[in-house]
C-alpha cells in the first residue's frame, strides 16, 4: 500500500515536502525576526503563555468529547461544539439571575457550582438527544452518512438556540472576587485565568481517573478496542456509548462555563470555532487517546496565543492577531496530512466504514 503510493506519487511527495519545508522556514524566519527585533518583553511572553494555557485547558476539556466519541464510534461528532455552546448559553440565565440578585458576589463558590451543574446537565441532555435522534439510527450506515447527519445536527442546534434565546451577545456577569490579578511566584496573573486552569485540571484528573480506574471506564476502553468483542464479553455497548456521550458532553458543558469566565460573553455561534479547534487538539494528541487530547489542547492553546507574535510579527505582517485562527487551522491541516495518528497515537490501521 505504502509502496504503491511512493512509486506513483513522487511528484505528490515532492509537493508535500515543499509544503513542509516552506512552513518550517516561515516559522523559523519569523521567530528569528521577532526575537531580533525584541518588540516583546519577558512580561509579554508570560502573559501570552498564561493566556494560552487557560485557553488550551478549555480546548482540552472540549477535545475529550471528540476523542472519546471517536474512540467508541469512529465518527466525528461534528455537533460537539454546539453541545459546548448549549451548556454555556443556558447557564448564562442562571448566572444572570445570581448576578442581578447580588448572590454571585455574596457567595461566588456556591453560585459557580450551581452554574456549572446547570451547564453540564444541559450539555449532557442535548448530547443525549442528538445521539438518540441523529446518530443511533445510523450506527451501521456508510461512513459519510453519520457525518452529514452530524453536520445537520450542528446547524440545527445553532439556529434552534438562536431562535430560543435570541441572536445577540450576552454578557456573563463576573463576581468581584475574580476581578484583578493574583501574584504567583512574582508574576501577576489574572484571577479568572488561574481559576480556569485549576478548574480544568481538576476536571481532567477526575475524568482520567474515571476512564482508567472504574469498571465503566474499563468498559469504554474495551468498546473502543473492539465493539463486537466487547459485546461478546457481556458489555452493553449501547449503554457504554451513551455514557461516553454524556461524559464528553458534561466536560464540554464545564468548558463552556470556563470559556465564559475568560471571554465574559456567550452567543449562539460561539461553539463553532472552539469546536473545530478542540477537534484539532484531539487530532493533534492522537484521536481516541484521552491524555493525548489533554496535551493537544494545551499545546494548541499555547501555539495559538504565542504564535502570532512569535512567528508572524517577525515577518512584518500587519495585525498578526487576526491570523491566529489561520495558525490553528494550518496546524489542523498539517496534522491531518502528515501525521493523522497525532503526537501520542499509534498509527491507525486504515479501517473501512
Amino acid at each position: 500500500m505504502r509502496g504503491a503510493w511512493a512509486r506513483k506519487g513522487t511528484l505528490v511527495d515532492l509537493y508535500l515536502w515543499a509544503f513542509r519545508v516552506v512552513v518550517i522556514l516561515v516559522v523559523i524566519w519569523g521567530t528569528f525576526g521577532t526575537l531580533r527585533a525584541g518588540t516583546y518583553s519577558r512580561e509579554h511572553w508570560i502573559d501570552f503563555a498564561v493566556f494560552g494555557l487557560s485557553q488550551g485547558s478549555i480546548y482540552a476539556l472540549i477535545a475529550l468529547g471528540y476523542t472519546m466519541v471517536y474512540g467508541v464510534l469512529r465518527m466525528i461528532n461534528f455537533a460537539h461544539g454546539e453541545v459546548f455552546m448549549s451548556g454555556a448559553y443556558t447557564a448564562y440565565f442562571v448566572a444572570d439571575a445570581f448576578g442581578r440578585s447580588g448572590y454571585l458576589n455574596r457567595n461566588p463558590l456556591v453560585s459557580y457550582l450551581a452554574i456549572l451543574v446547570v451547564a453540564m446537565l444541559t450539555s449532557t441532555a442535548i448530547a443525549l438527544v442528538v445521539e438518540r435522534l441523529a446518530y443511533r439510527p445510523l450506527r451501521r450506515a456508510p461512513r459519510l452518512v453519520p457525518l452529514i447527519s452530524a453536520i445537520g445536527a450542528s446547524f440545527f442546534l445553532q439556529y434552534a438556540f438562536r431562535g430560543l434565546y435570541g441572536s445577540g451577545f450576552k454578557a456573563y456577569p463576573e463576581p468581584e472576587v475574580l476581578k484583578g490579578k493574583w501574584v504567583i511566584a512574582g508574576i501577576g496573573i489574572l484571577r479568572s485565568q488561574v481559576i480556569v486552569v485549576v478548574g480544568a485540571a481538576l476536571m481532567l484528573l477526575v475524568l482520567y481517573w474515571f476512564v482508567m480506574r472504574t469498571k465503566t471506564g474499563m468498559a469504554m476502553r474495551a468498546v473502543s478496542e473492539d465493539k463486537d468483542a466487547a459485546a461478546l464479553m457481556g458489555i452493553d455497548v449501547d449503554r457504554v456509548i451513551v455514557i461516553t456521550f454524556a461524559l464528553g458532553a458534561a466536560m464540554a458543558g464545564a468548558a463552556g462555563v470556563l470559556y465564559a469566565l475568560v471571554f465574559k460573553q456567550v452567543h449562539f455561534f460561539m461553539g463553532f470555532v472552539p469546536g473545530i479547534k478542540a477537534f484539532t487538539a484531539a487530532v493533534l494528541g492522537g484521536i481516541g487517546n484521552v491524555p493525548g487530547a489533554m496535551l493537544g489542547g494545551l499545546f494548541l492553546g499555547l501555539v495559538e496565543s504565542v504564535g502570532p507574535a512569535l512567528f508572524l510579527d517577525g515577518l512584518g505582517i500587519v495585525a498578526p492577531y487576526q491570523l491566529k485562527d489561520v495558525i490553528a487551522f494550518t496546524m489542523l491541516v498539517m496534522v491531518l496530512i502528515f501525521r493523522p495518528s497525532g503526537i501520542l497515537g499509534e498509527r491507525l490501521v486504515v479501517k473501512k466504514a
Binding site: 466525528i76 446547524f155 431562535g163 430560543l164 498578526p320 487576526q322 487551522f329
Partner: protein
C-alpha cells in the same frame, strides 16, 4: 369490530402525541409561529404559523392511527384523538406556563403576542382551545388515514394546493397580472392581502376534482400513450420538454424582477451544486471547503475587471471568466494534492480548514493592499454582450440558465465517460479501485480541479451579480448551503441538484420571513434525509442500489450475532 384498544395502542398514541407535542412547543418557542403568523394562508381564517402548529396535531393523529393498534376504524379514531389531545395539551401547558411566568427573560420568542395567538386572543381563559383543536385535528387525521388511498390522495392534493397558493399569493397575484383573464381569476380568488375563503374553496375543489380524475383515468392515459407509435411518443416527450423550457424562459417576464432575482440565486447555487456534485456526488470526496473556489472565482473576476481601486487590468467579463475558471482549477488541484491521501471524515475537516484559512487570509489586514480586506472589491462592471449590458436580474437569469444548461451537459457527459466510471469506482471503494488499475492521484485531482473550476464560474457570476466582492460572502455557511441541496436532491444525481437548489434555495428566498429559520430547516432536513432517504429525493439509480445493498450487508452480521 372491537371497540377497545389494548394498552400498547394507548401508549403508542400517547407517545406519538408527546413527540409531536414537543415539536409543536419547539416550533412556537423558536419563534416560527409568531413570525409566520404574518403570512395568511386564507385571509381571516388561518395563518401559516398556525398551519405549522396544526400540522403537528395532524401528524400525531395520523401516526397514532397507523401504529400497532390494529382493531379497526373506531380504535384508530380513538388513538388519533388521544394523540391529538396530547399535542393540544402540550400547547395548552405552554400557554399556562407562559401566562403565569414571564418566560421572556429566557426565551425571546415567548412574547405576549405568541400566547394570544395560541389562545385565539382569549389569554389564560382560552386554555381549552388548543386542547379541543388538537383533539379534533388528531381525529380528522386518524379518520383520513383509514380512508382508501384513492379517496385520501385527492383531499391531500386539494389541501396542499390551497396551502401553496395561500403562502405564495403575492407572487401569484403579480403573475396573474392587472388585466384580461388573469385579472378576473385574481379577483375571484384573491384580495390584495391574500387568498379569500371562497378562493380557497374553489381551489380546493378544482385540485380535488383534477386529482380524482387523474387517479381514475391514469391507467387509461398510460395505455393510450403506450399504444401510440414510437415516433409519436417521442414527439409527445419533446412537446412536454418544449413546454417546460419555454415556461422557464418566459418566467422572468411573467413574474417580474423579484422572481428573476430569486431564480438567479437558484441558478447560482445550482451551478455551485453541480460543481460540488462532481467532487462529493461522483467521486465521493466530501469537501467542506468548496466555498474557497467560489471565492477564488469571484475575487479573480473582481480584480481583473473592477474599475475601482483594486482593479488591475480592467478586462471585460468574458475575458475574465475563463481566467477565473483556470485560477480556480489550479487552486483546486493545489489544495487537492495535500489531501489526496486523506479519506472520509478527515477529508471533510481538512478541506474545511483550507476553506477557513483562505477566508481568514482574504479578510486580514495583511493582504488588504491587494484584496481590500473586509471592505472587499467594489465597482465590478456588469457584463455586456454585443453592446447590450446584462444589468438587470432578468438578463442575468438567462446568463445563469445558459451556463447551467452547459454545465449540466458537461457534467452528464463526464459522468458517463471513462473518468466518470472511475470516479464512481473510487466512491465505492478506493482500494479496490486502485487494484483495478485506476490512477487515484489523477482521478481525484481531476475531480477536485473540475469541481473547483465550476465553483469559480459561479463565483464569477456572483461577482457581477452583486457588483462587489466581500470576504463575508464566503463563509463556511455557503459550503453548507451548497451541500444541503446535493444531499437532499440525491448525491451524484444531476436533476437532484437542480430540484434540491429549487427547494432549498428558491423557496426560502420567496418566503422572506423564512430567513431566520433557513439553517434550522437545513439542519433538520440533513438529519431527516440521512435516516429516511439517504439516496435523496431524486436519486441516481446506481446510488440507490448502492445504499440499499449496504443496508442489506449491514443487516446480515446482526442476524449472525442473534
Amino acid at each position: 369490530m372491537p371497540m377497545r384498544m389494548d394498552r400498547q395502542g394507548w401508549w403508542n398514541a400517547v407517545r406519538k402525541g408527546l413527540i409531536w407535542g414537543g415539536v409543536a412547543v419547539f416550533v412556537a418557542m423558536v419563534g416560527m409561529v409568531e413570525t409566520f403568523a404574518e403570512r395568511q394562508v386564507i385571509i381571516g381564517v388561518v395563518s401559516f404559523g398556525m398551519t405549522l402548529l396544526a400540522l403537528a396535531g395532524v401528524a400525531a393523529g395520523f401516526q397514532a392511527a397507523r401504529g400497532p393498534a390494529g382493531g379497526g376504524r373506531v380504535s384508530a379514531l380513538l388513538g388519533g384523538a388521544v394523540a391529538g389531545a396530547v399535542v393540544g395539551a402540550a400547547v395548552a401547558g405552554l400557554l399556562l406556563v407562559g401566562s403565569v411566568l414571564n418566560l421572556r427573560t429566557m426565551f425571546v420568542s415567548a412574547s405576549p403576542r405568541l400566547f394570544s395567538l395560541l389562545s385565539a386572543g382569549q389569554g389564560l381563559h382560552g386554555w381549552y382551545l388548543p386542547l379541543l383543536a388538537g383533539t379534533a385535528l388528531g381525529m380528522i387525521a386518524a379518520g383520513a388515514s383509514t380512508l382508501a388511498a384513492r379517496l385520501r390522495r385527492p383531499i391531500l392534493t386539494g389541501l396542499m394546493s390551497v396551502l401553496t397558493v395561500g403562502v405564495f399569493q403575492e407572487l401569484l397575484q403579480i403573475m396573474l397580472g392587472g388585466e384580461g383573464v388573469g385579472a378576473v381569476i385574481r379577483d375571484v380568488l384573491f384580495e390584495s392581502e391574500g387568498l379569500l375563503p371562497r378562493g380557497a374553496l374553489i381551489l380546493f375543489l378544482v385540485a380535488w376534482a383534477s386529482s380524482s380524475l387523474w387517479i381514475w383515468r391514469r391507467a387509461a392515459v398510460h395505455v393510450w400513450v403506450a399504444r401510440r407509435p414510437a415516433s409519436q411518443q417521442r414527439g409527445l416527450r419533446l412537446l412536454t420538454l418544449g413546454i417546460g423550457v419555454s415556461a422557464l424562459l418566459l418566467l422572468p417576464h411573467l413574474a417580474g424582477p423579484f422572481l428573476s432575482q430569486v431564480l438567479v440565486l437558484v441558478g447560482l447555487f445550482a451551478l455551485l451544486g453541480l460543481g460540488l456534485n462532481i467532487v462529493v456526488g461522483f467521486a465521493g470526496l466530501l469537501d467542506l471547503g468548496y466555498v474557497a473556489f467560489f471565492a477564488m472565482g469571484a475575487y479573480t473576476v473582481g480584480l481583473l475587471t473592477s474599475t475601482g481601486e483594486h482593479g488591475i487590468f480592467h478586462f471585460s467579463f468574458w475575458t475574465a471568466v475563463p481566467i477565473a475558471m483556470v485560477v480556480s482549477l489550479i487552486g483546486g488541484v493545489l489544495l487537492g494534492i495535500p489531501v489526496l491521501r486523506i479519506r472520509g471524515d478527515y477529508l471533510a475537516i481538512a478541506t474545511m480548514g483550507f476553506g477557513e484559512i483562505i477566508r481568514l487570509l482574504v479578510l486580514s489586514d495583511f493582504l488588504r493592499p491587494w484584496l481590500g480586506g473586509s471592505q472587499g472589491i467594489l465597482a465590478i462592471p456588469k457584463p455586456t454582450i454585443v453592446g447590450l449590458e446584462l444589468s438587470g436580474p432578468e438578463q442575468l437569469f438567462y446568463l445563469t440558465l445558459v451556463l447551467c444548461g452547459l454545465v449540466v451537459f458537461v457534467a452528464s457527459r463526464l459522468r458517463d465517460s471513462r473518468l466518470g466510471r472511475a470516479w464512481m469506482a473510487v466512491r465505492e471503494d478506493e482500494d479496490v479501485a486502485e487494484a483495478m488499475g485506476i490512477n487515484l492521484v489523477n482521478v481525484k485531482l481531476l475531480a477536485f480541479g473540475l469541481g473547483a473550476s465550476f465553483g469559480g464560474l459561479s463565483g464569477a457570476i456572483f461577482a457581477v451579480m452583486v457588483g462587489s466582492v466581500f470576504p463575508h460572502s464566503f463563509q463556511l455557511l455557503i459550503s453548507i448551503k451548497v451541500l444541503s441541496p446535493i444531499i437532499v436532491g440525491g448525491m451524484g444525481s444531476l436533476p437532484g441538484v437542480l430540484v434540491g437548489s429549487l427547494a432549498l434555495v428558491g423557496l426560502p428566498e420567496l418566503l422572506r420571513e423564512f430567513a431566520d429559520f433557513r439553517f434550522l430547516v437545513y439542519g433538520a432536513a440533513l438529519v431527516a434525509m440521512m435516516q429516511l432517504r439517504p439516496e435523496g429525493l431524486w436519486p441516481e439509480p446506481v446510488r440507490k442500489r448502492e445504499l440499499h445493498e449496504s443496508e442489506q450487508d449491514a443487516a446480515e452480521p446482526e442476524k449472525v450475532l442473534a
